[in-house]
Symmetry: C2
Subunit: 314 residues, 2 copies
């Protein structure tokens, strides 16, 4: 049987990653281009296809998959709105790429492509069920059931950042109060740390802040925690506890084989995972949490492009 290759395109706000991936989810070749947020959809697509044609396996590519943040109609391949390309409205991205290349194209949101990527890159045993949790500015999720992406009735399944974990919590940009994202989204964590630092001093955090005029980001809080800063550790304990409430709900609800954590905040590793696991122990059914492996992705930067390529397989 001839080998099947797929082209993956991960359209981020700064860069667009492009890769040829084989049918085992392995990247064979990759390239990149900058995201021109002012350009029209067709012009961006033309420049992506030009880059892709420069890849030596391009002619063997069977289909093209595109992952992009935002409100995506994955069934029709429409980008209704993307925060990364705010000038785009109702862009028929699937059709644009199909016309340009003569190949089948698939479009889905970046949380879904991350889940497919995690299935191929992180979950070596190819589990029946996997929940991928993206921890960054936003908190997102993608669901793999029966080894395939599960999209839901209107392609919005996996919005786990907007499940209520404490109804008395803060107002979220989605309109709800107490969403998981209002506890563990990056800017909320930074705000929580600032609040704590109003009434106490931290030399470690102050030193890190004064270096290069840094801001109080989750990355800085991770560095501070790694240096033993108590306030930073407290912030991660708080975040881990809230993450644990969310994950325990997910475990009781869909009893997944694997949960993969990815995105910038997942890199804090044990600082957030250990308190999350303690909370899961308190809140999830033992039979379900026992069988659920929780791992941090080793491929955060690759998940999107590999998952996009493998959209053809869903």
């Amino acid at each position: 049987m001839p080998k099947r290759f797929y082209l993956g395109i991960d359209m981020g706000g700064t860069h667009i990653k492009i890769a040829v991936v084989n049918s085992e989810g392995k990247i064979l070749e990759e390239t990149m281009t900058d995201t021109d947020v002012e350009a029209k959809p067709l012009d961006i697509a033309v420049s992506i296809v030009e880059k892709a044609r420069g890849l030596k396996h391009y002619s063997s590519v069977k289909s093209i998959g595109i992952g992009i943040a935002g409100d995506i109609d994955c069934f029709r391949g429409f980008v209704r709105f993307s925060p990364n390309l705010p000038k785009w409205k109702n862009v028929a991205l699937k059709s644009i790429f199909e016309k340009l290349t003569g190949k089948n194209a698939f479009v889905d949101n970046d949380a879904n492509t991350a889940a497919i990527g995690a299935f191929w890159l992180d979950a070596k045993a190819k589990p029946d069920s996997l929940v991928c949790v993206t921890l960054g500015t936003g908190v997102g999720g993608g669901l793999i059931f029966n080894k395939k992406l599960y999209r839901g009735a209107s392609c919005t399944a996996g919005e786990i950042g907007h499940m209520t974990i404490d109804p008395s919590g803060l107002r979220c940009k989605c309109g709800n109060k107490g969403c998981a994202e209002t506890f563990i989204g990056a800017k909320y964590l930074s705000a929580y740390a600032k609040e704590l630092l109003k009434n106490r001093k931290s030399e470690i955090i102050n030193d890190l802040l004064s270096q290069n005029n840094s801001k109080l980001t989750p990355k800085l809080l991770y560095e501070a925690a790694a240096k033993g800063d108590k306030t930073a550790v407290e912030v991660w304990n708080y975040a881990g506890q809230k993450l644990g409430i969310l994950l325990a709900g997910i475990i009781n609800f869909v009893n997944p084989e694997v949960i993969v954590l990815c995105g910038g905040i997942s890199r804090t590793g044990k600082f957030i995972i250990e308190p999350a696991k303690k909370e899961i122990e308190k809140r999830a059914f033992a039979s379900a949490s026992k069988v659920c492996k929780i791992i941090v992705s080793n491929y955060t930067q690759k998940l999107g492009v590999v998952g996009a390529a493998m959209l053809a397989d869903q």
Copy 2:
């Protein structure tokens, strides 16, 4: 093609329902026997099979499905523990029925069989995704994805009654705090009503309580609400709001086509549904809630036995 018939057995704490069901989920014949909680598993199985053999379509039955409350190993057909038959421990129910009848047997928990039943009886359009929510003493759930039962990695998927909806809530029997069940499970609702009635009087509730020495159950609270009792309506508004938080989370997470509410408390209809819908409007993504039909089952008493019969089809 010859018609396929299936035998369904719904093992409740008081009665055992037995029915022959066709491949469209329609009951052709049904019967019943009392549950002898003192009897040994084999003796109960023998009496069920005897009853079933009295049904005129029994000889055409291809397989047998059994639904039972509790901790069930659905993959091996084991009843680890059932609250309805508390003396049973690790009963190989599948194997007992297969030896007695020479037919294939399947065993699953009653929330899963209710979900399959709701798919066949309530959801006429056969949706890709359906979440069945059982509202009674406990709060349970069963999940249909891609038109089939989704069981999870250890057969415990659907434990939506034990998702945290408010971490400051009461301690649940599962060990967690603030489970959905601690707000909308029958005994918690009764306790909430009692608490309200400490500081106020309700003639309607008092009248209903004095009739036949009744207790303050959800059924009585429903009757009181139907007669216009303000406290009872307040209890249902509270329950509906909490149910809405749970359902909004489910909608954002798995974006189902249909949610079916069943079980005793679902019969309160609009008293619980209307406030639940208001809460969903506040908390769920509009694109997901717009496509999600929320219905009250018209077949609460039949779901278990039909779903059990259709286990063979999963």
